[in-house]
Amino acid sequence: MNNNSVLFEEDFKIKGWDFTNAGEASLKIKNYLKEVGIAENILKRVAITSYEAEMNIVLYAKEGTINFKVTPKKVLLEVKDRGPGIEDVELAMKEGYSTATEEIRNMGFGAGMGLPNIKKNADMFVIKSEPGKGTKLNIEVYLK
């Protein structure tokens, strides 16, 4: 089998400020990986990256999508949103830096850990953002 062949793929639509469904996509991703027997340490890392990416859409964007793919070698997440974008990506990557409002902070978010957590747990992470338009993340976690 080709190492790049897609074994599984699913698209999730995420709505901004929808706390009723927030986290559902990440739970589905995790449950799928668990069902097919992916190792615990990989599962944990994917769960952290997908949850942080999903919550960034819920907390900051109007809407977004998560494309989840599994190949024989890796788990891939492409996360795109229509939102305010990030003015200074380098600053946003710094642990502890956040633009979150008081309301967001009161719910336990906005600690400036989201993007750094994604970076720490991903084997490959690319972030592109266009202020006023949106943000795109490409995340890969290798299976071995």
């Binding site: 009723t20 986290g23 559902e24 944990k44 769960a47």
Partner: protein, 112 residues
Amino acid sequence: MNLKQIIEKLNLKVIAAEDSVDVEVKGGYVSDLLSDVMANARNKSIWITLQMHQNIIAVASLKEIAGIIIVNGRKPDEETIKKAEEQKIPLLLSDLPAFEIAGMLYSMGISG
């Protein structure tokens, strides 16, 4: 240690997922920041927090948390309770502050 024993010893009030309390607790974590719990709590831990928003349930479910203790007599809203039932995450209430609860758990042999 079994969650049932912890509930009894700490006199916790179970308000959701009462059928899911017969589980082994392997550690503990205290935090009110969800990203911190995502990053640092271990599986099968008991999570002590004052957060009551429904978001805590998705985090607990993703991290396979054994149960959530909400401290300081705070009472979560209906959505949180409903989600906890759906995801089978025991929601436990205490009037004590986080420090006291963590101390008691630690003395019972639960560590981070």
